[in-house]
Symmetry: C2
Subunit: 222 residues, 2 copies
């Protein structure tokens, strides 16, 4: 995925003026700090209100910066959003990538479920950021879904299918098996408000883990 870093002020810096070639001068400590600050604030805001529902002022406010100052680091609201999705999309799929074709089938899948649930527990805002984006038609990441994501899923679905053919796990639809893992685990992050409105209990994720491990154990048993 394309990394978005056209810093206005960096394109007219001394490196360019002196050498004529546009080799990006390295980030200053302030730049690094503030970009992280902004992305953190943007995650908070975008995940709560969606792209169109969020304002630059909200993000700047959350980050403790003035609006023009924020726009000094990112050229537009779009750019912040893109940078966030960009950074996230990669790490978000790590649990699925970790599914090992050489491992013990049932354990691999149960591990995947566990890791994915852990992602919901640790990074609910990230989960909601994606959820918001996808519910609203994924205008900014459709390409990635049809490209990278689809390729990865197809690859892993093939692994699952092999396991089924080999009689290591029960026959089901491999793609829908993956969908089911996503939906079940992400539900606890994306619909957290609803879950907590109904089930007022501290350790929701512990209950969920027990429930899901049992569910998939039963589903996969040959």
């Amino acid at each position: 995925m394309r990394i978005v870093t056209w810093n206005k002020h960096l394109t007219r810096n001394s490196a360019v003026a002196k050498s004529g070639t546009a080799q990006p001068r390295q980030e200053t400590r302030i730049q690094k700090k503030n970009k992280e600050l902004i992305l953190g604030a943007a995650l908070e805001v975008f995940s709560s209100y969606g792209f169109r529902g969020s304002t630059i002022d909200q993000i700047a406010n959350q980050a403790g910066l003035s609006k023009p100052n924020l726009l000094y680091y990112f050229p537009s609201k779009e750019a912040i959003h893109a940078a966030l999705l960009d950074a996230l999309l990669d790490t978000w799929l790590d649990p699925l990538r970790a599914l090992d074709p050489e491992g013990e089938p049932v354990a691999e899948i149960l591990d995947y479920v566990h890791r994915k649930l852990e992602m919901s527990r640790m990074y609910p805002r990230e989960s909601r950021l994606f959820a918001n984006e996808i519910i609203q038609g994924a205008p900014r990441i459709l390409e990635n879904l049809e490209g990278e994501l689809r390729a990865l899923v197809d690859e892993k679905a093939a692994v699952l299918e092999d396991w089924m053919t080999a009689g290591k796990i029960a026959q089901t639809h491999p793609h829908h098996l993956i969908f089911s893992i996503w939906s079940l685990t992400q539900h606890y992050a994306d619909f957290e408000v609803q879950v907590r409105a109904i089930r007022t209990k501290q350790d929701i994720y512990e209950e969920a883990d027990t429930f899901l491990q049992n569910l998939f154990t039963r589903l996969l048993k040959v």
Copy 2:
């Protein structure tokens, strides 16, 4: 849930002037037509962009009305949204209400799954309207979630628990069983773009139905 119908023009109509009591004059045919038109358009727009991401102009445009004309029927953007959620919340829970304590346990649950999936297939926009609202913290329906919804879920969870105690279905966490049905079925509506990006196939819902029936059959088997 409170019904929202303070039509500015109806509060100063002749019925009031003549009798002194505020008995709402019945809706004209034009009012009925246009209100439906507006709610339909609003569903389309709100479900695509969320509340804050949608504009009155978009809705008016979609409905083929001018903005002031739309605001003649509903006093504000808020009011349209409230009316939509209001009407929907009720019917959305019908499948769960239909779960019959006297029925055959496994069949009842499998039917519920089927009905819920059918809702996703027939009313994906309604599903996304809720999803948008809940992901963004459910600011407008939190009360309903903690009230009506929770009561209904608790009631049905008790039924499930009875079935488990009686050995009619396998032991699991009843609340999470309900959550799992919601998440699995709604996923196909809410994340439709993602599902279709990965699985380019016409009859996704047929596949899903087969998959889910199998999943819950296995989960519930004693």
